[in-house]
């Protein structure tokens, strides 16, 4: 299963190669052209030479992860996060370090509760306090196995979960990558560009150069977005709800989406009986922020798969949201919003 494969691959900003290679391999029979640009974006084209508006679909390949930044004299590895990970989530986790030629297991431990002072017990372990233990006996021993700049990842297995859900790591945004890859297996009556972008998590960097190269007439960003649907009667704080359909962004920290486009997407979803929800809350940003201001400007929408616990060792999406997102993108490519043509 593509989504499982992508979720279990490792690739933080600057180290997206495993994800890119898997996607190239998956797509090479389905697209007309495939190239990797100077930043590492994978850009594929389907429907080469067809008339009609150029449509760009974008999903980012990178996930949040860790980078080894120093080795202590006792062989423990200091690290920093690549992208944003809440420090509370780091402690007491196994990680795998990508250290050529393979991977190496390690753990982020913490001072035992028995020996914490009273004042320490209520405090968050900061990222600076934490380190990765690989069982090395000394700095020299550790340096034989790990180099500064090596990346490390949570090693969470992807699996079906509960009532039609999936749990796994990196669903932000491998779920979007999987939707995009599934769409690229179909044929559409227009030149369709698939951009699997790099470095979204450290500031939407890959999408800027991808959009510049493609110069699309219309773009759809395929994302995974936060579903905070945990506490009953707090609906307005939920942002999105898993299982209630893909989420259409109205406004976020980087983009105000065009109201006429939003209306036509909603109308289309309704006509085709595809569940759709609106993303509540204006925070966060995604590749749309760079794409919509590329060159002379690009009409853009963001469709997201609602995802619980983004940027954590394990996140959850609904299988039906994933399926409905593919359906809606498919419908959109067959019925482009009026403002685009």
């Amino acid at each position: 299963m593509l989504l499982k494969e992508l979720s279990e691959l490792d690739g933080a900003a600057g180290a997206e190669k495993p994800v890119r290679d898997a996607l190239r391999q998956f797509l090479h029979l389905h697209v007309d052209e495939s190239q990797v640009d100077k930043l590492g974006n994978l850009i594929v084209l389907k429907g080469q030479g067809l008339p009609g508006p150029k449509v760009m679909l974008a999903a980012h390949m990178d996930e949040v992860g860790l980078m080894i930044t120093d080795i202590d004299s006792d062989g423990m590895l200091r690290f920093r996060t690549v992208g944003s990970i809440e420090p509370r989530l780091l402690v007491s986790k196994p990680v795998r370090i990508h250290s050529a030629p393979g991977t190496l297991p390690g753990v982020i431990g913490s001072k035992a509760i028995h020996v914490q002072k009273a004042a320490e017990r209520g405090k968050v372990f900061t990222q600076e306090q934490l380190y990765v233990d690989i069982g090395a006996s000394s700095k020299d021993d550790a340096a034989k196995h790990v180099k500064l700049g090596d990346y490390a990842y949570f090693n969470t297995a992807f699996a079906p979960f509960g009532d039609g859900y999936y749990k796994g790591k990196a669903l932000d945004d491998r779920a979007g990558c999987a939707v995009l890859a599934e769409i690229l297996r179909n044929a559409y009556d227009l030149p369709l560009y698939g951009a699997f972008t790099v470095q979204e998590e450290i500031g939407l960097r890959g999408s800027q150069v991808a959009a510049y190269q493609i110069q699309p007439d219309f773009a759809i960003v395929l994302e995974s977005t936060r579903a905070a649907d945990l506490v009953p009667d707090e609906g307005p704080s939920w942002i999105t709800q898993i299982g209630a359909g893909p989420a259409l962004s109205i406004v976020d920290g980087a983009t105000i989406y065009r109201p006429d486009l939003l209306r036509s997407v909603q109308d289309l979803a309704q006509r085709q009986n595809i569940p759709l929800q609106l993303r509540r809350g204006g925070q966060g940003a995604n590749d749309a922020g760079r794409i919509h201001v590329s060159q002379t400007g690009v009409p853009v929408i963001t469709l997201s798969i609602p995802c619980r616990y983004v940027h954590s060792p394990v996140s959850v999406i609904a299988e039906r949201d994933y399926r409905h997102c593919i359906q809606l993108v498919d419908a959109l490519l067959k019925n482009l919003p009026l403002g685009v043509q």
């Binding site: 509760i113 209520g122 372990f125 905070a228 954590s312 060792p313 394990v314």
Partner: protein, 358 residues
């Protein structure tokens, strides 16, 4: 070469047993689930195997004369969680059993031991719903939920209030024969007991040995108290884990990979401490002295004051990150602990009274 190979085999065998024990789940008071696994690991070396109503498991190995009885213990229970509510959205609320560090729970995968084993995730409620004060502090259990991906009605079919929860963690091997996983406190001690019994089958020893996997240590050494009363041994040695030094914890001098830590102090009979050290030196086994000025937080605490008093010793396996799901130890320390106990038992005189005389 032959010797080295044997040593490796012993480490591998011990690793396998410890990994199996670590995968088991037995929150204090719920140790019955581990019974078969422990029995399987100890049975090959035991003359008698039984358990009591609390699921303390007793593996007896007869001595040449059987004049005295030696009790060895390692506790089988683990710290864990218990379900306290199933809310309208199907999220589970929970409380802790024994010394859980709430800070280490977020983002963990768990198994809820309901009518069927149900996978779940420990997750924080959204930060926007926390008080300004709580946002700055370490996460509290009241602000966490377990997501099992089912609606309230579906959840009720699977899970009840009072069900226990354990962390899901596969053991993995680090460099230099280090191992990491959950519940090495004190399943590593149980693995060391297996090594000891196996070694004893190659040695001559006068006294009967009863290796006990004790229950409910984490909530106050209750299984130790019951089992020691039942056996009323001539001496008892608890096998547990102890904090190994890390850069952020240097209060005690015990290091991982440098051999078992032999405790001394008021909770420990001085002759047993001396004998354990002497045997380690004679057998060229590495060991570390572990001074404990008070009462230890181990089964030894109960043994010493059971019935009319029992001469008690304590041997500990150095361990990093105790009571987290990434407890880390050195497998050599586990094997050396088992061997030390076996040679110690073999070196005991027929007349224990003389040796234990103050």
């Amino acid at each position: 070469m032959q010797e080295a190979k044997t040593k490796n085999q012993q480490i591998e065998q011990s690793k396998k047993f410890l990994s199996a024990l670590s995968a088991g789940s037995a929150v204090s008071g719920y140790e019955h689930g581990l019974l078969e696994m422990i029995a399987e690991g100890l049975r090959p070396y035991a003359d008698e195997l039984k358990h009591d109503a609390f699921y303390n498991v007793y593996a007896k190995k007869k001595g040449l004369t059987g004049q005295g009885t030696i009790l060895l213990s390692a506790h089988s229970d683990e710290i864990g969680l218990m379900i306290t509510d199933i809310d309208a959205l199907g999220f589970l609320h929970f409380a802790q059993i024994a010394g859980v560090d709430a800070k280490t729970l977020l983002g963990q995968e768990v198994v809820v031991h309901g009518r069927q084993a149900t996978p779940g995730l420990i997750v924080p409620i959204p930060e926007s719903l926390l008080s300004a004060d709580d946002r700055k502090k370490a996460a509290k259990i009241e602000n966490m939920r377990i997501d099992i991906g089912w609606t309230q009605d579906q959840a009720r079919e699977r899970v009840s209030i009072g069900d226990t929860v354990t962390l899901k963690r596969t053991v993995s091997e680090l460099l230099n024969d280090c191992l990491t996983g959950k519940t090495f406190d004190d399943r590593a001690g149980v693995a060391a007991l297996a090594v000891c019994l196996e070694e004893l089958s190659k040695l001559r020893h006068h006294h009967d040995v009863v290796a006990v996997a004790t229950v409910q240590e984490e909530v106050g050494v209750r299984g130790a108290s019951i089992s020691a009363y039942r056996l009323n041994p001539d001496l008892a040695i608890a096998v547990d884990v102890t904090h190994a030094v890390t850069s952020d914890y240097k209060a005690e001098p015990i290091e991982m990979g440098k051999g078992p830590a032999i405790a001394l102090g008021p909770n420990i009979h001085p002759a047993l401490y001396r004998k354990l050290c002497d045997v380690a030196l004679e057998q060229r086994l590495p060991y570390q002295s572990d001074p404990n000025p008070g009462v230890t937080g181990t089964d030894a605490r109960a043994f010493q004051i059971t019935q009319s008093g029992i001469p008690t010793g304590l041997v500990s396996i150095p361990l990093r990150y105790m009571h987290t799901s990434v407890e880390t130890l050195h497998m050599r320390d586990v094997v050396h602990t088992g061997k030390l106990l076996a040679y110690f038992i073999a070196a005991l005189p027929e007349d224990l009274e003389g040796m234990l005389c103050y």
